[in-house]
Symmetry: none
């Protein structure tokens, strides 16, 4: 019996996508805060909402990848 | 019996697409907020609507990938 | 018995395309709103119409990928 598993490869792509996405959001949040320092708390809220959307998909996909093997 | 599963690889591509897409949207939302701080709530609404479209496709695709195996 | 399924791989490419496409639309909608804030509701309508076209294709393709297995 041979089993060839692409699970780790898939997990790599998951984190690649989530990293690029959350990276862009975090980058822009810091640039926005440097331009509008008085908007700090609103910028932080918006950043967390946007990043949480990607975070949710990524965590769910990792769990499914684990279950499916 | 040999089983080669590409499920995790597919999950990776799903999150790669969703991450890049929501990342771009979040990035622009934060840049828009830094330019038009008084439009904060409308920008956040537009960002969530756009991101939810990608989120919906991604979650549905993950569930189908799980079911199909 | 060998079974090699590329279904999940296809699902991944579907969401990759839809995510990049809707991401670009959402990005431009937010940039447009930051430049013409008084056009907010028209920009949102236009964004949803454009994104729904991609959404429709993606959902249909996911369902077909599911049925075909």
């Amino acid at each position: 019996m041979e089993t060839i598993s692409f699970t780790a490869l898939g997990l790599g792509l998951i984190v690649l996508g989530a990293g690029i996405g959350i990276g862009k959001i975090g980058q822009s949040a810091l640039e926005a805060m440097s331009r509008q320092p008085e908007m700090g708390s609103k910028i932080q809220t918006l950043m967390i909402v946007a990043a949480a959307l990607i975070e949710g998909i990524a965590l769910f996909a990792i769990v499914v990848a684990w279950l499916v093997g």
